[in-house]
Amino acid sequence: MNQVLDVLSWVLLSCGGFFILVGGIGALRMPSFYTRMHAASVTDTMASFLVIGGLILQAGWSLATVKLVAIILFLMLTSPTSSYAVANAALLSGMKPDTKFKANKGGRES
């Protein structure tokens, strides 16, 4: 039983690490602000779910589990909210989403 839990949390933690990395690379390499925003915020929620989930499997039944569940709940609420706030702030300040990709079939007008 213990080994099953270990393997399971191994898988969850590795997947979490993978999503974290993908999000980081996306936030660095994507071409415009809103695409970067997308890469960062979507993977953020997924990765924290996986990593904290992996930790919960390791924690067993203890106070640490309760705290981890609280962390995951609050992160799932606050992380999208702050993404919303960032995107809205950018939109309010007049930054328009870059729609030229579609019209130009992938080529970027500058």
Binding site: F74, L77, T78, P80, T81, Y84, A85, N88
Partner: protein
């Protein structure tokens, strides 16, 4: 392994620090400062200083950004170009830096048990805390009981700083009182922050009280708790707008909190004298010295928390009021 992580994070810290100095846009500098604070808290945590890390988290996560933004709203976003080259400063800084680097060669190795810091009073604190105060968190015992006089000084420094900020920000010329901006509505038009914020708000306040009363057993205490509760109340002001926040939690309550907490702390000290002991000696507060210590620490931590919460809220609202006339 841990040391490797710490060195890695410290080098990131240096990069961020240089970038903050070089940033000309103050908004950018503010964002980098937030990253700096996050890195600092992580470093404190890795080096086992959980109490300090929690303080950095409680202050750095919300309050500093909010107050700096309040200051930024009063000035322009760009730094004024620096015309004169400070020739005198260069040798002064160079010499000081050389002296500091030279002095650092004499520092003991990190974690060396023979280092002076571990030989001086620390063994005494570690040995006497279970006997005299009997709480698991030695940091709280030192700050709240053994060195309560220092902490009293810190509380009054916070109180004085708050009064100073209020003096600076409430000075205004009578001709400037015309209203240019519409009344602040906060985020009441944004549905998602409103719903999420309303859900989170009670948990922030609850967590603040947990940190306040759990300070005897784990990282935490009055200062962190005051900052966390203040963050919660600031969140309310952000969500609902200044006006409603001040109606729900008027300014005179904050002033009473800022002054009353410091007063409570000092009164606990005076009560020690009145009951036949020394200033801030809690052992005489109850028939059992250890119960007296517990009661004293509980009261002074409450005093610290109340003062910090009131002061931070006053400073936030002072900035917000200045902004909207």
């Amino acid at each position: 392994m841990t040391i490797l992580f710490a060195v890695f994070l410290l080098s990131l810290l240096v990069i961020i620090a240089v970038a903050i100095i070089r940033a000309e846009n103050l908004f950018v500098a503010l964002m980098l400062t937030t990253i700096f604070s996050l890195l600092m808290a992580t470093n404190f945590f890795i080096l086992d200083a959980a109490d300090v890390a929690l303080t950095e988290a409680a202050i750095g996560a919300g309050i500093t950004t909010v107050i700096f933004l309040g200051a930024l709203a009063l000035t322009s976003e760009h730094e004024k170009p620096f015309v004169a080259v400070p020739w005198l400063a260069l040798p002064v800084v160079a010499v000081t830096a050389a002296l500091l680097i030279f002095a650092s060669f004499d520092n003991p190795r990190l974690g060396d048990p023979e280092a002076p810091i571990h030989q001086h009073v620390v063994p005494w604190y570690l040995e006497q805390t279970p006997k005299l105060v009997d709480i698991p968190n030695v940091v709280t015992a030192i700050l709240g009981s053994f060195r309560a006089f220092d902490t009293l000084g810190e509380v009054f420094v916070i109180f004085a700083a708050c009064i100073g900020v209020l003096f600076l920000l409430s000075a205004r010329k009578p001709s400037e009182t015309r209203c240019t901006a519409p009344a602040s509505v906060g985020l009441s038009q944004h549905l998602i922050p409103k719903v999420a914020g309303r859900f989170i708000l009670p948990f922030i306040i609850l967590f603040g009280f947990y940190v306040q009363f759990h300070g005897d057993f784990g990282p935490g205490g009055g200062f962190q708790a005051g900052a966390i509760v203040a963050t919660g109340l600031i969140l309310f002001a952000l969500l609902e707008g200044e006006e409603r926040a001040l109606r729900a939690f008027p300014r005179w309550i904050m002033m009473a909190m800022a002054a009353g907490g410091a007063l409570l702390y000092a009164l606990v000290g005076v009560a020690g004298i009145a009951m036949g002991g020394k200033f801030l000696d809690y052992s005489v507060l109850s028939s059992d010295p250890i119960a007296g210590q517990h009661l004293g620490i509980l009261l002074i931590e409450a005093g610290v928390g109340i003062t910090v919460c009131g002061s931070l809220l006053l400073i936030f609202h002072a900035f917000a009021a200045r902004e909207s006339f």
